[in-house]
């Protein structure tokens, strides 16, 4: 049995503009249809189609790598009725190890537009489940994809790739959670009802924040938002009197000047007996005087500060991605070992068959010269010949199994097959 040839042909957000990607995309019906068509090809033994807004990829196990790749490209071109010459510039294709590595990167979200985003893993899982239900997958792709899900889990757990916030509102929540232990017993005040403020508030609520005050120049808007967020509206003229009740203040009004000044916050923090306050100013022009940050136990972040946090976090994710690549590489090696060890089993079976049949022939020959032996003695001779086979083959068998788990497994396998004339 030859090593299974894994290939992949695809386009993604890095290689291909969206105008082309959308033409190549598959919806579920089309995937079902295409999977069936691909299985008709004598070249293709297993296949899985992944189609998301950022990528279209076909994974397959084939007999011949380059023929398989051509076949998949041709299929994509014919199915979507686009000239192959036109598409060629966008395609990337991988074989064997590269395919495994690429899939592991995709499932771990290293190949995504936003590093570490969680969505892609679900999409790969869906694609796999669908292909499996269509019986388009076999032992190899099943193992490959199951492994890819494990790798994604490992990457998520062992690196910080998905940890830090990479959007403004999630960065605000992340900061809030580094100032306050849990948000459950903390109060949020929205000053102004901007869309981003609402988003940040919803985010905080999802982390447990319960008490929400909302104030706005137009009371009706505050009241309306209060209803959706299950909070209470405050009169804009007097909201400063309640400032001390808020642990987190999100400000997003269209006011041309600062509406929260240092002395107001100073008074509030005194009233709170120094319990910390976190101000998030997402208004442009700003709502909160920057001097507020100078007060002790007060933390003020404006939109640029938050953007700075996001940028730093993106860098942090990039650093963590390097760690993820190491994990992926070691997992690719493990997967290869598994593939190679698949090869060892039939080889061992063949060697044994060969040796056992030789032993049997030779024993029969010998026994032919000794007709006086009883049935019992004949059996003893047979047993002996089989024991010799077992004895001689035991060590090489164990060694071969072990060696095929290592890097140079293929070399051993090839040597064994050659020495025992297994491929003649």
């Amino acid at each position: 049995m030859a090593a299974p040839n894994l290939i992949l042909v695809g386009v993604n957000h890095k290689t291909t503009p969206v105008e082309v990607r959308e033409k190549l995309a598959f919806n579920q019906d089309k995937i079902e249809e295409s999977t069936e068509i691909l299985l008709q090809h004598s070249e293709i033994h297993e296949n899985i189609i992944i189609s998301t807004c950022n990528r279209v990829e076909i994974y397959a196990r084939v007999d011949d790598v380059s023929a398989g790749i051509d076949c998949l490209k041709k299929f994509l071109s014919e199915y979507h009725r686009i000239e192959l010459e036109e598409l060629e510039q966008y395609f990337y294709s991988y074989k064997d190890n590269e395919t495994v590595e690429h899939l592991f990167k995709v499932s771990s979200s290293l190949d995504s537009m936003v590093l570490g985003e969680a969505q892609v893993l679900g999409q790969v899982k869906d694609a796999y489940t669908l292909a499996r239900s269509l019986r388009a997958t076999g032992q190899i792709l099943n193992q490959l994809f199951e492994k890819a899900f494990n790798v994604a889990k490992r990457v998520r757990e062992e690196t910080g790739i998905a940890e830090s916030a990479v959007s403004i509102s999630s960065a605000a929540v992340e900061l809030a959670r580094k100032i306050f232990d849990d948000l459950e017993n903390h109060t949020v005040m929205l000053v102004g009802t901007g869309e981003m403020a609402e988003l940040a508030a919803k985010h905080l609520i999802s982390y447990g924040a319960k008490t929400i005050y909302i104030t706005s120049r137009t009371y009706e808007r505050a009241a309306a938002l209060a209803q959706t967020l299950n909070g209470s509206a405050l009169d804009f003229q007097h909201f400063r009197e309640d400032l001390h009740k808020a642990d987190i203040v999100i400000s997003s009004t269209a006011a041309p000047k600062f509406i929260i000044e240092r002395d107001m916050v100073d008074a509030a923090i005194r009233q709170r007996r120094n319990r910390p306050m976190f101000f998030i100013d997402i208004a442009v022009p700003r709502d909160i005087a920057p001097e507020v940050n100078e007060l002790e136990n007060v933390y003020l972040y404006d939109i640029d500060d938050l953007q700075g946090v996001v940028n730093a976090n993106v860098k942090e994710r990039e650093r963590e991605a390097e760690l993820a690549i190491e994990i992926i590489q070691s997992e690719v090696d493990k997967f290869n070992n598994w593939i190679v060890s698949l090869d060892a089993v039939p080889t061992i079976v063949e060697i044994r068959k060969q040796a056992e049949s030789s032993a049997l022939t030779e024993a029969e020959k010998t026994l032919g010269k000794m007709p006086h032996l009883s049935e019992e003695d004949r059996q003893t001779i047979h047993n002996m010949s089989q024991s010799i086979v077992n004895k001689i083959l035991h060590k090489p068998t164990v060694k071969l199994k072990k060696k095929t788990q290592a890097h140079d497994g293929h070399t051993y396998l090839k040597a064994i097959r050659e020495l025992f004339h297994l491929d003649d």
Binding site: E157, K178, I179, D181, R272, E296, Y301, D305, G308, V309
Partner: protein
């Protein structure tokens, strides 16, 4: 005993290093190894104390050596408890070096067995020393937690979120932990101080004011600083950065006192 002593010494050194590695390469395996190393050091440490007490026939608070070893043991014990209860992995990087340094310091002290002072106030002396050591260990913990608070506070305030930002707990968690250890440590410290004073007066038949002032003043200063944190927290809303700074200053003063006494 010497074997176990060395095992603990190496164990705490390794644990300190592993905890620092863990700050950079945060992996579950690493923190598991770190905790296992501390536990190994602690078990061996417990044997050291047990064997020593068996040899001397009294508790481990007579010589400087015994005090240092006992102090380190209490601190390591509090750390293991806090680690289990609060799940703050990075605490180790701040507490274990202290444990190790105290242990290292102990290696330079005489291991001579000294009989427990044979006085009529033995019980009082035992009480004084036990209370003081427990109190100091709690205050050492407050020092480590205060140090973490200041690092984290600086990051949030300056808006430069370094690598440690993600690993370290929230300011509120650290402040609560600081408050808790101070509220245990300060009363113990105070009681230790009072029992020590009474013992001193009984022993020497001196009045309250005949102490060696140079030695005692820093101790009083330390006591005042912790008192400020303790009562400040209760009555005037002292918290956060100030509380952290005071707990660090308090510990520095107490350490100074200790070295003046040796």
């Amino acid at each position: 005993m010497i074997v176990f002593f060395n095992i603990s010494l190496v164990g705490y050194l390794l644990a300190s290093i592993i905890y620092f590695v863990q700050l950079v390469y945060r992996r579950q395996v690493i923190s598991n190894i770190a905790v296992a190393t501390v536990i190994a050091g602690f078990v061996s440490h417990t044997l050291v104390l047990g064997l020593r007490s068996q040899a001397t026939g009294h508790g481990p608070y007579t010589t400087s050596f015994e005090v240092a070893v006992f102090f380190a043991w209490v601190l390591a014990g509090i750390f293991l408890f806090a680690n289990w209860k609060y799940q703050i992995k990075d605490l180790g990087a701040f507490v274990l070096p202290v444990v190790f340094l105290v242990f290292l310091y102990a290696t330079f002290l005489s291991r001579e067995v000294v009989a427990f002072p044979d006085t009529e106030f033995q019980a009082l002396l035992t009480l004084h020393r036990t209370l003081s050591i427990l109190g100091y260990a709690a205050l050492a913990m407050a020092f480590a937690v205060g140090c973490m608070y200041l690092i984290q506070e600086r990051q949030v305030k300056s808006k430069k979120l370094g690598m440690m930002f993600f690993r370290m707990p929230s300011l509120e968690t650290l402040d609560n932990l600081n408050s808790r250890v101070i509220s245990i440590g300060f009363p113990l410290f105070t009681l230790g101080f009072i029992t020590g004073t009474i013992w001193n007066m009984e022993m020497t038949q001196h009045s309250l004011f005949s102490w060696n002032m140079i030695k005692v003043w820093p101790l009083i200063a330390g006591w005042l600083i912790y008192g400020l944190v303790f009562f400040g927290r209760l009555f005037v809303g002292l918290r956060g950065k100030r509380a952290a700074q005071f707990s660090m200053a308090g510990f520095a003063t107490v350490m100074l006192t200790y070295f003046l006494h040796v």
